[in-house]
């Protein structure tokens, strides 16, 4: 089922006209309403009236995360505080947190795009959905909630955590759809097995997994373990929260709802558009948002994009799974390393993904050291030290041949690496900044 066939399957030229109209309005709107954008556009020498076509988007200045932080809390808003219906905050690890706001119309838009996403994943009205994303200031829980409400699902607002209760809800209420982070889904499988519940007999048929990058092998593991379809959802609070892009059941890229969130792929170093088929940083312009519209927002997520019509009939462009983040990327001895690459290596060895963490350190006067910390689970463990050492050796060699960087492999006891109910902490950088 396609939620909004008119927009999602519209012929490319028609879509372009819609995008051009909306871009013209939003540029005029922010220029008028938000002093920060008035200044930014003036500095870039762009007269709002001169923007007539979506192709002119390249003339507009970028917006970056620091623009939000520097104008904390409401400086980048285009609407007054009394006009807001909701405010969300994402915790900042450094400096100010990121604050976003929604008018009532923005919340409607959020419900609309999330409804498109849930349909895209294969949900149909009447299905039960267990929303195990955190409710609260984090956008995951409420975003899913609004979409499910809009499309007529039965919502079980479980929020994150309390794993035993999540499993009981699943067993007793039999929801067809699960929405949570992929790492939490795998964590629940561990718990299920511990309490003697067979994950393959679960009621979940569709998973809407996001809020953190995850790999194809991890998808295979989830689908195998839970006997369900695992789809990827993409979003970020700066743009709206979850519901920016979503995989359909063909799992051939995430449909980005480009009539409202216009995507560009740029080279993060030069800021120029990448060639066709090349990967780069995803940049998004919100074409219709009111409270805090953003022009050319740099997501720092690395993706590829295809503009071909999907087998499902949607004409919207499709982005690849997140290949990494421009800021999650660690540079070890001058080599770019993404956690997803290490994930591929680990899964390739035993067929399953153990919990892992990358620790980068540099002792004074020495070279960077990359340590891969891996939790020993029953598939890895052996009574013979020789086999354990062989396992370490294999990881080391694979990483060296794939990434060209030397790594140490440390084996640790189960459940000793920090697991969050929300996002997995994959990288710890101990080098002095």
């Amino acid at each position: 089922m396609i939620w909004n066939e008119k927009m999602e399957c519209s012929p490319v030229e028609e879509l372009k006209n819609v995008q051009s109209d909306r871009l013209r309005s939003i540029v005029e709107y922010v220029y008028r309403k938000c002093p920060v954008y008035t200044r930014k556009l003036d500095e870039a020498g762009v007269s709002p009236g001169s923007i007539r076509s979506i192709d002119q988007i390249k003339q507009l200045p970028f917006t970056v995360k620091d623009d939000l932080r520097d104008n904390y809390p409401f400086g980048l808003f285009s609407r007054g505080e009394r006009e807001l219906a909701e405010i969300h905050v994402s915790s900042g690890t450094t400096g100010n947190p990121t604050v976003v706001g929604y008018t009532k119309d923005d919340l409607k838009l959020w419900g609309e795009v999330m409804a498109r996403a849930l349909c895209c994943a294969g949900a149909v009205p009447g299905d039960k959905i267990q929303v195990a994303y955190g409710y609260g200031l984090f956008t995951g829980g409420l975003g899913c909630h609004y979409g499910a409400l809009e499309m007529g699902l039965t919502i079980i607002p479980a929020s994150s955590g309390q794993t035993k209760r999540q499993l009981k809800i699943m067993t007793d209420f039999k929801p067809r759809v699960l929405a949570c982070t992929p790492s939490y889904c795998l964590y629940m499988a561990e718990e299920a097995q511990e309490i003697g519940l067979d994950p393959r007999s679960s009621s979940w048929e569709i998973g809407v997994f996001g809020a953190e990058p995850w790999s194809e092998p991890m998808r295979a593991e989830i689908e195998q373990t839970w006997n369900m379809l695992a789809t990827d959802i993409y979003g970020l609070s700066e743009i709206i929260g979850p519901g920016v892009a979503q995989e359909c059941t063909h799992k051939a890229g995430l449909h980005i709802f480009s009539d409202v969130f216009y995507p560009e792929i740029i080279d993060p170093k030069t800021g120029k558009e990448v060639g066709p088929g090349e990967k780069g940083e995803l940049v998004i312009t919100t074409l219709t948002k009111q409270a805090i519209p953003l022009l050319r927002y740099r997501t720092r997520d690395i993706v590829g994009v295809t503009y071909e019509t999907c087998r499902c009939g949607r004409t919207s462009p499709r982005i690849t799974k997140i290949q990494g983040r421009t800021d999650d990327m660690i540079i070890v001895r001058g080599i770019n390393v993404f956690p997803s690459q290490i994930e591929h290596v680990l899964i390739g060895i035993e067929g399953t993904l153990p919990h892992y963490q990358l620790v980068v350190d540099r002792k004074s006067g020495e070279l960077d050291e990359l340590e891969v910390v891996v939790e020993v689970d029953p598939t890895i463990f052996s009574d013979e030290i020789r086999k354990l050492e062989g396992f370490q050796q294999k990881i080391r060699k694979e990483i060296e041949s794939v990434l060209g960087v030397a790594a140490r492999v440390r084996l640790v006891e189960p459940k000793t690496i920090e697991r969050s109910m929300g996002k997995a902490v994959r990288v710890v950088d101990k080098r002095a900044k």
Partner: protein, 143 residues
């Protein structure tokens, strides 16, 4: 007969072996033989206990990674050349020993050894055929 050995993964951290032993103690499980193999940063404790299944349950319950492996426990004459006579049999029959270790207790005037063979069935057969006394579960419980 073959016996089950329990092996546990231990990080090289203070008190981990103590933790394993007290968990087993609280579970009323008696350790008959114990050895630790070390590598950099971690080790594997291997032991023969009187109740291997119960031991697995309590260890897993406490979050340890543990595994059962088949081993063969034999009596060795407690005199010079006692162990050599057994190893000679294994050597001549080309049986591969992964590792071995001794029991804490003695069985009458004989010493007790644990053998972890690459192929436990083969090891057991060779020892039995050559008149080596192999221990059964009852012997372990009654030690």
């Amino acid at each position: 007969m073959k016996l089950n050995q329990i092996s546990v993964f231990l990080e090289d951290k203070k008190g981990r072996l103590f933790e394993v032993c007290s968990v087993l103690g609280e579970g009323g499980i008696n350790i008959r033989a114990l050895t630790i193999a070390e590598s950099r940063g971690y080790g594997v404790a291997r032991m023969v206990v009187d109740k291997p299944d119960a031991a697995m349950d309590v260890l897993k319950g406490k979050g340890f990674v543990a595994e059962k492996t088949e081993i063969v426990a034999v009596q060795v004459a407690d005199r010079p050349g006692g162990l050599a006579s057994i190893l000679k049999i294994l050597y001549e029959k080309d049986v591969n020993v992964e590792y071995m270790y001794g029991f804490v207790e003695k069985f009458s005037d004989k010493a007790l050894m644990v053998f972890r063979f690459e192929n436990p069935d083969e090891g057991l057969a060779v020892l039995s055929e050559n008149g080596v006394k192999v221990l059964g579960t009852k012997d372990i419980v009654n030690l």
